[in-house]
Subunit: 186 residues, 2 copies
Amino acid sequence: MTPQRKDAARNWDRILTVARELVDEGTPLQLNDVARRAGLGVGTVYRHFPTTEALLETVATPCLEAIADHGRKALEDDDPWHAFSDYLKRLVEAQVSDPALAKVAATAADTLPRTTELKQQIIAIGTELLTRARAAGAVREDLADGDLVPLMCGVAYATYVHSDGPADRLPTARRYLDTLLRGLSA
Amino acid sequence: MTPQRKDAARNWDRILTVARELVDEGTPLQLNDVARRAGLGVGTVYRHFPTTEALLETVATPCLEAIADHGRKALEDDDPWHAFSDYLKRLVEAQVSDPALAKVAATAADTLPRTTELKQQIIAIGTELLTRARAAGAVREDLADGDLVPLMCGVAYATYVHSDGPADRLPTARRYLDTLLRGLSA
DNA sequence: CGATGAAACGGATAGCTCATCCGCATGTGT
DNA sequence: ACACATGCGGATGAGCTATCCGTTTCATCG
């Protein structure tokens, strides 16, 4: 993934660093803007990342991997409800603390080629945890597999609409998720 | 609100008609686009509606009024929980069937001067219904007044993320709201 | 170590959308 | 019918996206 040549690798890193900064400060990603801030030509940025989405994906990848790792651990939890709810909590917290993740989560898979596989792993883990929780009678029957992602995005979105700034997001998100989970439990 | 002069009033109507069509077919509003479709100069459109938001507001106004009317009736309902949940149902259904409404709902009041008052009426009614339901012990204590709008937007957003097209939105939205209401009830 | 080809760089620039401005046309009141 | 006010239209500039190609840098091999 990272380029072979030394200069290319250096620029790749610079671009990602700048992009991460922009995402964190809430600025919408603009490739020309990234180029200027990184002290590079636009051409360079566009060669590495043909679209804003491509850059966004790459920025979000480490977080996605962390979530997948966390999920694999959750699969070893004996308490199905705890494993399920804890995983959802992780998903929501990640989304509200990282705008890049929120965008990737809400975007259809086909426009995000690079992270599709990771995203599907994360969804598959969620589905598995849901299936177990359902089998244990802990979750309402009418919650379908395909509802998981939308509901997580919904909680994250509600948090964004509510909050004035990044500061009070986490507690709000937790409160909203708690409410949702209460509604989901059997 | 509508201009006095005959030609101006006619153009105003044309613009609103076209805008309503565009919103309904899911196309994002672009003022130049509206002008072209309405057979008018861009200047005309920009004079009536300086920004996309202003046009969006005006497009959404009738729906907002309908909601406020519905709300005033809900205030006469004797069952606090029924009045409250029914009102929320109305809010969510309106949002998922009208993208204009969803945008207006999720936008901060200060960028939408024209509909601010209407929006606040709608929120005030919701708050009143919530207060009554809370007083009757039907709603969880930790649901704050300011949570109402974000949660409604969240449900609408989740519905958008879930659905493939406008067709299956309503049932999905109802299902999600049911789940949320279950979590909100004491 | 110097030459050579491949790969990457940079930024000029074309294409596009947004929004303004002002000369011209149209409607309204006398 | 006239004059003034009001509204109309679209040319136009500002800002952003994305491409293309001449120049530069890197890695490899004799």
